[in-house]
Protein backbone atom coordinates (compact mmCIF):
# COMPACT_ATOMS: atom_id res chain seq x y z
CA UNK A 1 0.00 0.00 0.00
CA UNK A 2 2.80 2.33 0.90
CA UNK A 3 4.34 1.50 -2.39
CA UNK A 4 1.26 2.60 -4.19
CA UNK A 5 0.98 5.78 -2.16
CA UNK A 6 4.59 6.58 -2.74
CA UNK A 7 4.18 6.00 -6.46
CA UNK A 8 1.23 8.33 -6.40
CA UNK A 9 3.11 11.00 -4.52
CA UNK A 10 6.10 10.80 -6.81
CA UNK A 11 3.86 11.08 -9.77
CA UNK A 12 1.98 14.00 -8.28
CA UNK A 13 5.11 15.79 -7.25
CA UNK A 14 6.99 15.49 -10.51
CA UNK A 15 4.28 15.20 -13.10
CA UNK A 16 0.86 16.18 -11.98
CA UNK A 17 1.47 19.29 -9.92
CA UNK A 18 4.17 20.79 -12.15
CA UNK A 19 1.97 20.10 -15.15
CA UNK A 20 -0.94 21.72 -13.41
CA UNK A 21 1.09 24.76 -12.50
CA UNK A 22 2.62 25.22 -15.92
CA UNK A 23 -0.69 24.51 -17.57
CA UNK A 24 -2.47 27.13 -15.52
CA UNK A 25 0.23 29.66 -16.29
CA UNK A 26 0.01 28.98 -20.01
CA UNK A 27 -3.74 29.05 -19.83
CA UNK A 28 -3.81 32.52 -18.34
CA UNK A 29 -1.54 33.79 -21.08
CA UNK A 30 -3.52 32.01 -23.75
CA UNK A 31 -6.75 33.54 -22.50
CA UNK A 32 -5.47 36.99 -23.35
CA UNK A 33 -4.29 35.92 -26.77
CA UNK A 34 -7.49 34.14 -27.55
CA UNK A 35 -9.58 37.11 -26.48
CA UNK A 36 -7.77 39.54 -28.74
CA UNK A 37 -7.99 37.03 -31.50
CA UNK A 38 -11.64 36.38 -30.91
CA UNK A 39 -12.74 39.99 -30.84
CA UNK A 40 -10.18 41.95 -32.81
CA UNK A 41 -9.34 39.06 -35.10
CA UNK A 42 -5.61 38.98 -35.13
CA UNK A 43 -2.84 37.07 -33.41
CA UNK A 44 -1.23 39.53 -31.09
CA UNK A 45 2.46 38.80 -31.07
CA UNK A 46 3.05 41.56 -28.60
CA UNK A 47 1.21 39.68 -25.90
CA UNK A 48 4.35 38.21 -24.34
CA UNK A 49 5.92 41.62 -24.16
CA UNK A 50 2.75 43.17 -22.85
CA UNK A 51 2.97 40.57 -20.10
CA UNK A 52 6.52 41.65 -19.46
CA UNK A 53 5.53 45.30 -19.45
CA UNK A 54 2.72 44.88 -16.93
CA UNK A 55 4.90 42.68 -14.77
CA UNK A 56 7.68 45.19 -14.90
CA UNK A 57 5.44 47.92 -13.54
CA UNK A 58 4.18 45.60 -10.85
CA UNK A 59 7.75 44.79 -9.92
CA UNK A 60 8.74 48.42 -9.68
CA UNK A 61 5.74 49.14 -7.48
CA UNK A 62 6.44 46.05 -5.40
CA UNK A 63 9.96 47.21 -4.75
CA UNK A 64 8.67 50.58 -3.76
CA UNK A 65 6.13 49.01 -1.40
CA UNK A 66 8.81 46.78 0.08
CA UNK A 67 10.97 49.83 0.51
CA UNK A 68 8.13 51.45 2.39
CA UNK A 69 7.98 48.40 4.60
CA UNK A 70 4.54 47.39 3.38
CA UNK A 71 3.81 43.73 2.88
CA UNK A 72 0.92 41.37 2.45
CA UNK A 73 1.48 38.88 5.22
CA UNK A 74 2.01 35.40 3.89
CA UNK A 75 0.92 36.46 0.44
CA UNK A 76 3.35 38.07 -1.96
CA UNK A 77 3.46 41.87 -1.83
CA UNK A 78 3.29 41.86 -5.60
CA UNK A 79 -0.40 41.11 -5.34
CA UNK A 80 -0.85 44.49 -3.71
CA UNK A 81 1.04 46.12 -6.52
CA UNK A 82 -0.84 44.19 -9.17
CA UNK A 83 -3.66 46.69 -9.69
CA UNK A 84 -1.18 49.39 -10.54
CA UNK A 85 0.62 47.06 -12.91
CA UNK A 86 -2.68 46.27 -14.56
CA UNK A 87 -3.41 49.94 -14.84
CA UNK A 88 -0.07 50.57 -16.50
CA UNK A 89 -0.49 47.72 -18.95
CA UNK A 90 -4.00 48.81 -19.83
CA UNK A 91 -2.84 52.34 -20.42
CA UNK A 92 -0.06 51.05 -22.63
CA UNK A 93 -2.39 48.77 -24.55
CA UNK A 94 -4.86 51.56 -25.17
CA UNK A 95 -2.09 53.88 -26.21
CA UNK A 96 -0.80 51.33 -28.67
CA UNK A 97 -4.23 50.69 -30.02
CA UNK A 98 -4.83 54.36 -30.53
CA UNK A 99 -1.62 54.91 -32.44
CA UNK A 100 -1.15 51.61 -34.18
CA UNK A 101 -4.08 49.29 -34.57
CA UNK A 102 -6.87 51.83 -34.93
CA UNK A 103 -5.44 52.98 -38.20
CA UNK A 104 -5.60 49.52 -39.70
CA UNK A 105 -9.09 49.02 -38.42
CA UNK A 106 -10.18 52.14 -40.24
CA UNK A 107 -8.32 50.92 -43.31
CA UNK A 108 -9.95 47.54 -42.94
CA UNK A 109 -6.59 45.95 -43.43
CA UNK A 110 -6.03 42.31 -43.85
CA UNK A 111 -5.60 40.30 -40.66
CA UNK A 112 -1.98 39.60 -41.47
CA UNK A 113 -1.20 43.31 -41.47
CA UNK A 114 -2.43 43.51 -37.91
CA UNK A 115 -0.21 40.60 -37.03
CA UNK A 116 2.80 42.32 -38.53
CA UNK A 117 1.94 45.55 -36.76
CA UNK A 118 1.83 43.57 -33.55
CA UNK A 119 5.29 42.26 -34.35
CA UNK A 120 6.37 45.88 -34.59
CA UNK A 121 4.75 46.60 -31.24
CA UNK A 122 6.48 43.54 -29.85
CA UNK A 123 9.87 44.93 -30.82
CA UNK A 124 9.08 48.32 -29.38
CA UNK A 125 7.83 46.95 -26.07
CA UNK A 126 10.81 44.66 -26.04
CA UNK A 127 13.07 47.66 -26.22
CA UNK A 128 11.11 49.73 -23.71
CA UNK A 129 11.08 47.02 -21.07
CA UNK A 130 14.80 46.49 -21.41
CA UNK A 131 15.48 50.19 -21.42
CA UNK A 132 13.67 50.56 -18.14
CA UNK A 133 14.37 47.45 -16.15
CA UNK A 134 17.13 45.83 -18.13
CA UNK A 135 17.40 42.34 -19.52
CA UNK A 136 18.28 40.62 -16.28
CA UNK A 137 16.33 38.35 -14.07
CA UNK A 138 14.46 40.27 -11.40
CA UNK A 139 13.23 38.92 -8.12
CA UNK A 140 10.23 40.34 -6.42
CA UNK A 141 8.67 37.39 -4.68
CA UNK A 142 8.22 37.50 -0.96
CA UNK A 143 5.78 35.99 1.49
CA UNK A 144 5.45 32.26 1.81
CA UNK A 145 6.69 30.21 -1.11
CA UNK A 146 5.19 26.90 -0.10
CA UNK A 147 1.87 25.76 1.19
CA UNK A 148 3.63 22.58 2.06
CA UNK A 149 7.20 21.52 1.36
CA UNK A 150 8.51 18.11 0.53
CA UNK A 151 9.99 17.70 3.95
CA UNK A 152 6.88 18.80 5.79
CA UNK A 153 4.86 16.43 3.70
CA UNK A 154 7.15 13.55 4.47
CA UNK A 155 7.13 14.28 8.16
CA UNK A 156 3.39 14.61 8.10
CA UNK A 157 2.63 11.41 6.26
CA UNK A 158 5.62 9.29 7.07
CA UNK A 159 5.96 8.36 3.40
CA UNK A 160 9.34 8.05 1.76
CA UNK A 161 8.39 10.53 -0.92
CA UNK A 162 7.27 14.09 -0.51
CA UNK A 163 4.98 16.48 -2.22
CA UNK A 164 5.50 20.21 -2.47
CA UNK A 165 2.71 22.67 -3.14
CA UNK A 166 3.77 26.20 -3.95
CA UNK A 167 1.66 29.15 -2.99
CA UNK A 168 1.99 30.98 -6.33
CA UNK A 169 0.83 27.86 -8.09
CA UNK A 170 -2.20 27.60 -5.90
CA UNK A 171 -2.99 31.25 -6.54
CA UNK A 172 -2.51 30.79 -10.27
CA UNK A 173 -4.89 27.88 -10.45
CA UNK A 174 -7.53 29.63 -8.41
CA UNK A 175 -7.18 32.80 -10.44
CA UNK A 176 -7.27 30.92 -13.73
CA UNK A 177 -10.51 29.24 -12.79
CA UNK A 178 -12.05 32.47 -11.59
CA UNK A 179 -10.95 34.42 -14.60
CA UNK A 180 -12.20 31.95 -17.13
CA UNK A 181 -15.53 31.67 -15.39
CA UNK A 182 -15.89 35.43 -15.25
CA UNK A 183 -14.82 35.84 -18.83
CA UNK A 184 -17.16 33.15 -20.01
CA UNK A 185 -20.05 34.72 -18.18
CA UNK A 186 -19.12 38.14 -19.44
CA UNK A 187 -18.92 37.14 -23.08
CA UNK A 188 -21.93 34.87 -23.16
CA UNK A 189 -24.33 36.73 -20.92
CA UNK A 190 -23.52 40.38 -20.45
CA UNK A 191 -24.68 42.91 -22.95
CA UNK A 192 -21.22 44.33 -23.49
CA UNK A 193 -19.84 40.84 -23.92
CA UNK A 194 -22.39 40.03 -26.54
CA UNK A 195 -21.69 43.28 -28.27
CA UNK A 196 -18.05 42.28 -28.36
CA UNK A 197 -18.86 38.97 -29.95
CA UNK A 198 -21.16 40.67 -32.40
CA UNK A 199 -18.39 43.06 -33.33
CA UNK A 200 -15.97 40.23 -33.83
CA UNK A 201 -18.46 38.46 -36.02
CA UNK A 202 -19.40 41.27 -38.36
CA UNK A 203 -18.11 44.76 -37.81
CA UNK A 204 -20.48 46.47 -40.22
CA UNK A 205 -23.52 44.82 -38.89
CA UNK A 206 -22.47 45.64 -35.34
CA UNK A 207 -22.36 49.22 -36.43
CA UNK A 208 -25.89 48.90 -37.82
CA UNK A 209 -27.06 47.63 -34.48
CA UNK A 210 -25.82 50.74 -32.78
CA UNK A 211 -22.82 49.09 -31.14
CA UNK A 212 -20.03 51.55 -30.55
CA UNK A 213 -16.94 49.91 -32.01
CA UNK A 214 -14.51 52.06 -30.08
CA UNK A 215 -15.98 50.93 -26.84
CA UNK A 216 -15.78 47.29 -27.80
CA UNK A 217 -12.16 47.65 -28.75
CA UNK A 218 -11.40 49.49 -25.55
CA UNK A 219 -13.01 46.88 -23.34
CA UNK A 220 -11.17 44.16 -25.20
CA UNK A 221 -7.84 45.77 -24.58
CA UNK A 222 -8.63 46.43 -20.96
CA UNK A 223 -9.40 42.78 -20.38
CA UNK A 224 -6.50 41.54 -22.47
CA UNK A 225 -3.97 43.78 -20.77
CA UNK A 226 -5.29 42.86 -17.35
CA UNK A 227 -5.04 39.19 -18.19
CA UNK A 228 -1.54 39.68 -19.50
CA UNK A 229 -0.41 41.39 -16.34
CA UNK A 230 -2.04 38.87 -14.04
CA UNK A 231 -0.50 36.02 -15.99
CA UNK A 232 2.88 37.71 -16.06
CA UNK A 233 2.97 38.48 -12.37
CA UNK A 234 1.83 35.06 -11.28
CA UNK A 235 4.33 33.49 -13.58
CA UNK A 236 7.08 35.70 -12.29
CA UNK A 237 6.22 34.88 -8.71
CA UNK A 238 6.42 31.18 -9.34
CA UNK A 239 9.38 31.09 -11.71
CA UNK A 240 11.16 34.34 -12.29
CA UNK A 241 10.92 37.47 -14.35
CA UNK A 242 13.16 37.93 -17.34
CA UNK A 243 12.01 39.80 -20.42
CA UNK A 244 13.52 37.23 -22.75
CA UNK A 245 11.68 34.36 -21.08
CA UNK A 246 8.42 36.21 -21.40
CA UNK A 247 9.02 36.69 -25.07
CA UNK A 248 9.81 33.00 -25.40
CA UNK A 249 6.58 32.09 -23.65
CA UNK A 250 4.75 33.39 -26.67
CA UNK A 251 5.09 30.16 -28.62
CA UNK A 252 3.63 27.78 -26.05
CA UNK A 253 0.96 30.34 -25.31
CA UNK A 254 -0.06 30.52 -28.93
CA UNK A 255 0.07 26.79 -29.22
CA UNK A 256 -2.28 26.54 -26.26
CA UNK A 257 -4.71 29.07 -27.63
CA UNK A 258 -4.84 27.45 -31.03
CA UNK A 259 -5.04 23.86 -30.00
CA UNK A 260 -7.85 24.74 -27.65
CA UNK A 261 -9.73 26.39 -30.47
CA UNK A 262 -8.83 29.96 -31.05
CA UNK A 263 -11.29 32.54 -29.82
CA UNK A 264 -12.60 30.15 -27.19
CA UNK A 265 -11.84 30.99 -23.55
CA UNK A 266 -12.44 27.43 -22.42
CA UNK A 267 -10.24 26.25 -25.23
CA UNK A 268 -7.38 28.40 -23.99
CA UNK A 269 -7.59 26.69 -20.63
CA UNK A 270 -7.78 23.24 -22.11
CA UNK A 271 -4.99 24.06 -24.55
CA UNK A 272 -2.71 25.24 -21.76
CA UNK A 273 -3.08 21.97 -19.95
CA UNK A 274 -2.70 19.89 -23.08
CA UNK A 275 0.58 21.58 -23.88
CA UNK A 276 1.87 21.44 -20.32
CA UNK A 277 0.93 17.86 -19.66
CA UNK A 278 2.14 16.57 -22.96
CA UNK A 279 5.53 18.08 -22.22
CA UNK A 280 5.74 16.62 -18.76
CA UNK A 281 4.11 13.24 -19.11
CA UNK A 282 5.81 12.19 -22.31
CA UNK A 283 9.31 12.99 -21.19
CA UNK A 284 9.01 11.83 -17.61
CA UNK A 285 11.10 8.85 -16.63
CA UNK A 286 8.64 6.49 -15.00
CA UNK A 287 11.30 4.38 -13.37
CA UNK A 288 10.69 5.54 -9.79
CA UNK A 289 6.94 5.28 -10.07
CA UNK A 290 7.22 1.77 -11.43
CA UNK A 291 9.66 0.79 -8.73
CA UNK A 292 7.21 1.77 -6.07
CA UNK A 293 4.58 -0.22 -7.86
CA UNK A 294 6.73 -3.29 -7.60
CA UNK A 295 8.31 -3.41 -11.03
CA UNK A 296 12.01 -3.07 -11.37
CA UNK A 297 12.70 -1.67 -14.80
CA UNK A 298 16.25 -1.63 -16.07
CA UNK A 299 16.16 1.61 -17.95
CA UNK A 300 14.61 4.92 -17.12
CA UNK A 301 11.33 4.08 -18.81
CA UNK A 302 11.30 7.42 -20.51
CA UNK A 303 9.17 7.61 -23.62
CA UNK A 304 11.26 10.37 -25.09
CA UNK A 305 14.26 12.23 -23.86
CA UNK A 306 13.67 15.74 -22.58
CA UNK A 307 15.46 17.44 -25.43
CA UNK A 308 12.47 16.56 -27.50
CA UNK A 309 10.00 18.01 -25.06
CA UNK A 310 9.21 21.11 -27.01
CA UNK A 311 8.97 19.13 -30.18
CA UNK A 312 6.81 16.52 -28.56
CA UNK A 313 4.32 19.01 -27.31
CA UNK A 314 4.02 20.15 -30.90
CA UNK A 315 3.57 16.61 -32.10
CA UNK A 316 0.65 16.36 -29.73
CA UNK A 317 -0.69 19.62 -31.06
CA UNK A 318 -0.50 18.45 -34.61
CA UNK A 319 -2.19 15.20 -33.67
CA UNK A 320 -4.97 17.03 -31.86
CA UNK A 321 -5.47 19.27 -34.85
CA UNK A 322 -5.60 16.35 -37.24
CA UNK A 323 -8.42 14.89 -35.21
CA UNK A 324 -10.13 18.19 -34.50
CA UNK A 325 -9.04 20.58 -37.23
CA UNK A 326 -10.30 23.68 -35.45
CA UNK A 327 -9.07 22.87 -31.99
CA UNK A 328 -10.56 21.12 -29.02
CA UNK A 329 -13.37 23.61 -28.57
CA UNK A 330 -14.03 24.31 -32.24
CA UNK A 331 -12.44 27.67 -32.69
CA UNK A 332 -12.94 29.97 -35.58
CA UNK A 333 -12.09 29.05 -39.08
CA UNK A 334 -11.16 32.01 -41.14
Amino acid sequence: MDGFLNALVVFANFVFLPGLAYGAQLALGALGVTLVYGILRFSNFAHGDLMAFGTMITILVTWWLMGMGINFGPLPTALLALPIGIFGAVAMALFIDRFVFRFYRKQRSDGIVFVMASVGVMFVLNGIVRLIIGPNEQRFADGERFLITVKEFRDLTGLAEGLAVRLPVAITIVVAIMVVAALFWFLQRSKTGKAMRAYSDNEDLALLSGINPDRVVMVTWIIAASLATIAGVLYGLDKSFRPFTYFQLLLPIFASAIVGGIGQPLGAIAGGFVVAFSEVTLTYAYKRVLEYLGFAPDGLVQLLSTEYKFAISFVILVLVLLIRPTGIFKGRVL
Binding site: D201, N202, L205, L208, I211
Partner: protein, 234 residues
Protein backbone atom coordinates in the same frame (compact mmCIF):
# COMPACT_ATOMS: atom_id res chain seq x y z
CA UNK B 1 -41.62 67.59 -46.76
CA UNK B 2 -41.05 63.89 -46.31
CA UNK B 3 -39.80 62.17 -43.16
CA UNK B 4 -36.66 60.92 -44.83
CA UNK B 5 -35.10 62.52 -47.85
CA UNK B 6 -31.91 61.59 -49.56
CA UNK B 7 -31.48 64.56 -51.82
CA UNK B 8 -29.52 64.66 -55.09
CA UNK B 9 -26.99 62.23 -53.71
CA UNK B 10 -23.69 61.82 -55.49
CA UNK B 11 -20.88 59.57 -54.46
CA UNK B 12 -19.13 56.26 -54.98
CA UNK B 13 -16.36 53.97 -53.86
CA UNK B 14 -13.39 55.96 -55.01
CA UNK B 15 -13.61 55.49 -58.74
CA UNK B 16 -16.37 56.92 -60.87
CA UNK B 17 -19.48 58.02 -59.06
CA UNK B 18 -22.08 55.33 -58.57
CA UNK B 19 -24.81 57.69 -57.45
CA UNK B 20 -25.47 60.43 -59.90
CA UNK B 21 -27.80 62.77 -58.14
CA UNK B 22 -30.62 60.46 -57.22
CA UNK B 23 -33.26 61.51 -54.78
CA UNK B 24 -35.13 59.12 -52.52
CA UNK B 25 -37.81 60.07 -50.06
CA UNK B 26 -40.25 58.28 -47.84
CA UNK B 27 -42.82 59.40 -45.33
CA UNK B 28 -44.00 57.95 -42.05
CA UNK B 29 -46.42 55.13 -42.56
CA UNK B 30 -45.40 54.82 -46.17
CA UNK B 31 -43.69 52.10 -48.11
CA UNK B 32 -41.22 53.18 -50.73
CA UNK B 33 -39.69 50.65 -53.07
CA UNK B 34 -36.58 51.04 -55.17
CA UNK B 35 -36.22 48.86 -58.21
CA UNK B 36 -33.71 48.81 -61.01
CA UNK B 37 -31.23 46.69 -62.88
CA UNK B 38 -28.33 45.00 -61.13
CA UNK B 39 -25.58 47.38 -60.35
CA UNK B 40 -27.77 50.41 -60.72
CA UNK B 41 -26.68 51.71 -57.35
CA UNK B 42 -29.68 50.72 -55.27
CA UNK B 43 -27.66 49.23 -52.45
CA UNK B 44 -25.24 52.09 -52.72
CA UNK B 45 -28.08 54.55 -52.29
CA UNK B 46 -29.20 52.69 -49.20
CA UNK B 47 -25.72 52.74 -47.77
CA UNK B 48 -25.43 56.43 -48.50
CA UNK B 49 -28.67 57.15 -46.71
CA UNK B 50 -27.43 55.15 -43.79
CA UNK B 51 -24.14 56.97 -43.65
CA UNK B 52 -21.94 54.06 -44.66
CA UNK B 53 -20.74 55.85 -47.75
CA UNK B 54 -19.56 59.44 -47.72
CA UNK B 55 -21.53 61.66 -50.05
CA UNK B 56 -19.71 63.92 -52.41
CA UNK B 57 -22.78 66.00 -52.95
CA UNK B 58 -26.32 66.11 -51.68
CA UNK B 59 -27.69 65.58 -48.23
CA UNK B 60 -29.82 63.36 -46.10
CA UNK B 61 -32.51 64.68 -43.83
CA UNK B 62 -34.53 62.82 -41.25
CA UNK B 63 -37.59 64.48 -39.78
CA UNK B 64 -36.41 67.77 -41.15
CA UNK B 65 -32.98 67.53 -39.62
CA UNK B 66 -29.85 67.29 -41.66
CA UNK B 67 -28.12 64.06 -40.66
CA UNK B 68 -25.57 63.95 -43.48
CA UNK B 69 -22.72 64.14 -41.01
CA UNK B 70 -23.95 61.55 -38.53
CA UNK B 71 -22.17 58.23 -38.16
CA UNK B 72 -24.16 55.06 -38.79
CA UNK B 73 -24.41 54.17 -35.14
CA UNK B 74 -25.77 57.61 -34.38
CA UNK B 75 -28.32 57.15 -37.10
CA UNK B 76 -29.40 53.97 -35.41
CA UNK B 77 -29.98 56.00 -32.30
CA UNK B 78 -31.88 58.54 -34.36
CA UNK B 79 -34.32 55.77 -35.24
CA UNK B 80 -33.05 54.24 -38.43
CA UNK B 81 -32.88 50.50 -38.94
CA UNK B 82 -31.13 48.78 -41.84
CA UNK B 83 -30.96 45.29 -43.24
CA UNK B 84 -28.10 45.06 -45.73
CA UNK B 85 -28.26 42.89 -48.78
CA UNK B 86 -25.38 40.60 -47.94
CA UNK B 87 -23.75 39.39 -44.73
CA UNK B 88 -26.63 40.62 -42.68
CA UNK B 89 -26.54 38.23 -39.74
CA UNK B 90 -23.98 37.50 -37.05
CA UNK B 91 -23.06 34.04 -38.22
CA UNK B 92 -21.38 32.87 -35.04
CA UNK B 93 -24.14 34.03 -32.74
CA UNK B 94 -27.35 32.23 -32.05
CA UNK B 95 -30.58 33.41 -33.60
CA UNK B 96 -31.73 34.77 -30.28
CA UNK B 97 -28.50 36.65 -29.76
CA UNK B 98 -28.83 38.11 -33.21
CA UNK B 99 -32.18 39.48 -32.24
CA UNK B 100 -30.84 40.76 -28.95
CA UNK B 101 -28.16 42.60 -30.83
CA UNK B 102 -30.90 44.23 -32.83
CA UNK B 103 -32.21 45.59 -29.57
CA UNK B 104 -28.77 46.68 -28.45
CA UNK B 105 -29.64 50.35 -28.15
CA UNK B 106 -32.88 49.69 -26.34
CA UNK B 107 -32.84 49.91 -22.60
CA UNK B 108 -36.40 48.81 -22.01
CA UNK B 109 -37.70 45.29 -21.87
CA UNK B 110 -37.76 44.01 -25.41
CA UNK B 111 -39.10 40.53 -24.81
CA UNK B 112 -42.47 41.37 -26.32
CA UNK B 113 -40.85 42.63 -29.50
CA UNK B 114 -38.95 39.40 -29.65
CA UNK B 115 -42.17 37.47 -29.28
CA UNK B 116 -43.61 39.46 -32.15
CA UNK B 117 -40.66 38.59 -34.32
CA UNK B 118 -41.03 34.94 -33.39
CA UNK B 119 -44.71 35.14 -34.29
CA UNK B 120 -43.79 36.56 -37.61
CA UNK B 121 -41.11 33.97 -38.31
CA UNK B 122 -42.01 30.87 -36.32
CA UNK B 123 -39.03 28.95 -37.65
CA UNK B 124 -36.74 31.34 -35.83
CA UNK B 125 -38.26 30.45 -32.51
CA UNK B 126 -37.54 26.84 -33.23
CA UNK B 127 -33.95 27.62 -34.18
CA UNK B 128 -33.46 30.12 -31.38
CA UNK B 129 -30.28 28.55 -30.11
CA UNK B 130 -28.69 27.63 -33.43
CA UNK B 131 -25.88 29.78 -34.75
CA UNK B 132 -27.23 31.90 -37.56
CA UNK B 133 -24.40 30.73 -39.79
CA UNK B 134 -25.92 27.27 -39.90
CA UNK B 135 -29.27 28.45 -41.16
CA UNK B 136 -30.48 28.08 -44.70
CA UNK B 137 -30.33 31.10 -46.95
CA UNK B 138 -33.96 32.01 -46.49
CA UNK B 139 -33.87 31.51 -42.75
CA UNK B 140 -30.96 33.90 -42.51
CA UNK B 141 -32.93 36.50 -44.37
CA UNK B 142 -35.66 36.16 -41.78
CA UNK B 143 -33.19 36.61 -38.97
CA UNK B 144 -31.87 39.73 -40.63
CA UNK B 145 -35.28 41.31 -40.94
CA UNK B 146 -36.14 40.28 -37.42
CA UNK B 147 -32.97 41.86 -36.16
CA UNK B 148 -33.86 45.19 -37.70
CA UNK B 149 -37.39 45.04 -36.35
CA UNK B 150 -36.01 44.61 -32.85
CA UNK B 151 -34.70 48.15 -32.92
CA UNK B 152 -38.27 49.46 -33.18
CA UNK B 153 -37.06 51.98 -35.69
CA UNK B 154 -39.03 54.89 -37.03
CA UNK B 155 -37.50 54.25 -40.42
CA UNK B 156 -36.79 50.74 -41.60
CA UNK B 157 -34.54 50.18 -44.59
CA UNK B 158 -34.48 46.79 -46.23
CA UNK B 159 -32.14 45.78 -49.02
CA UNK B 160 -33.80 42.93 -50.86
CA UNK B 161 -35.39 41.34 -47.84
CA UNK B 162 -37.14 38.68 -49.90
CA UNK B 163 -34.19 37.46 -51.91
CA UNK B 164 -34.23 33.73 -51.50
CA UNK B 165 -37.21 33.38 -49.24
CA UNK B 166 -40.01 31.05 -50.13
CA UNK B 167 -43.26 32.47 -51.48
CA UNK B 168 -45.16 31.80 -48.31
CA UNK B 169 -42.60 33.61 -46.23
CA UNK B 170 -42.39 36.39 -48.77
CA UNK B 171 -46.11 36.95 -48.48
CA UNK B 172 -45.87 36.94 -44.74
CA UNK B 173 -43.01 39.33 -44.90
CA UNK B 174 -44.85 41.75 -47.12
CA UNK B 175 -47.89 41.41 -44.92
CA UNK B 176 -45.84 42.21 -41.96
CA UNK B 177 -44.18 45.13 -43.65
CA UNK B 178 -47.58 46.54 -44.43
CA UNK B 179 -48.53 46.17 -40.80
CA UNK B 180 -45.34 47.74 -39.63
CA UNK B 181 -45.88 50.64 -41.97
CA UNK B 182 -49.40 50.96 -40.69
CA UNK B 183 -48.02 51.65 -37.23
CA UNK B 184 -46.47 54.79 -38.64
CA UNK B 185 -43.03 53.58 -39.49
CA UNK B 186 -41.47 54.66 -42.74
CA UNK B 187 -40.26 51.80 -44.88
CA UNK B 188 -37.71 52.01 -47.63
CA UNK B 189 -36.82 48.88 -49.48
CA UNK B 190 -34.97 47.64 -52.49
CA UNK B 191 -36.63 44.77 -54.25
CA UNK B 192 -36.05 42.54 -57.21
CA UNK B 193 -39.35 40.79 -56.61
CA UNK B 194 -40.48 44.05 -58.00
CA UNK B 195 -44.03 43.33 -58.99
CA UNK B 196 -45.02 42.04 -55.59
CA UNK B 197 -43.18 44.89 -53.95
CA UNK B 198 -44.63 47.64 -56.10
CA UNK B 199 -47.99 46.14 -55.43
CA UNK B 200 -47.79 47.20 -51.83
CA UNK B 201 -45.72 50.31 -52.36
CA UNK B 202 -46.92 53.83 -51.91
CA UNK B 203 -44.01 55.14 -53.86
CA UNK B 204 -41.74 53.48 -56.32
CA UNK B 205 -38.41 54.56 -57.63
CA UNK B 206 -36.77 53.13 -60.68
CA UNK B 207 -33.07 53.70 -60.38
CA UNK B 208 -30.78 53.42 -63.36
CA UNK B 209 -27.10 54.22 -63.22
CA UNK B 210 -27.43 56.08 -60.01
CA UNK B 211 -30.19 58.46 -61.03
CA UNK B 212 -33.98 58.41 -60.90
CA UNK B 213 -35.48 57.12 -64.13
CA UNK B 214 -39.09 56.86 -62.98
CA UNK B 215 -40.74 58.00 -59.81
CA UNK B 216 -44.39 57.35 -59.19
CA UNK B 217 -46.86 55.43 -57.06
CA UNK B 218 -46.38 51.69 -57.02
CA UNK B 219 -49.54 51.17 -58.97
CA UNK B 220 -48.66 53.65 -61.62
CA UNK B 221 -45.28 52.12 -62.17
CA UNK B 222 -46.82 48.70 -62.43
CA UNK B 223 -49.14 50.02 -65.02
CA UNK B 224 -46.42 51.71 -67.04
CA UNK B 225 -45.62 49.42 -69.96
CA UNK B 226 -42.15 50.75 -70.41
CA UNK B 227 -41.27 50.10 -66.81
CA UNK B 228 -42.82 46.66 -66.98
CA UNK B 229 -40.92 45.67 -70.06
CA UNK B 230 -37.56 47.06 -69.14
CA UNK B 231 -37.38 46.52 -65.42
CA UNK B 232 -40.06 44.18 -64.20
CA UNK B 233 -39.55 41.38 -66.63
CA UNK B 234 -42.67 42.00 -68.75
Amino acid sequence: MSFLIGETMRGGYGGADILNGCTIAVDKGEIAVIVGPNGAGKSTAMKAIFGMLPLREGRVTLAGQDITALSPQDRVKAGMGFVPQTSNVFVSMSVQENLEMGAYIRHDDFSDTMEQVFDLFPILKEKRRQPAGELSGGQRQQVAVGRALMTRPSLLMLDEPTAGVSPIVMDELFDRIIEVAATGIAILMVEQNARQALNIADRGYVLVQGSNRFTDTGEALLANPEVRATFLGG
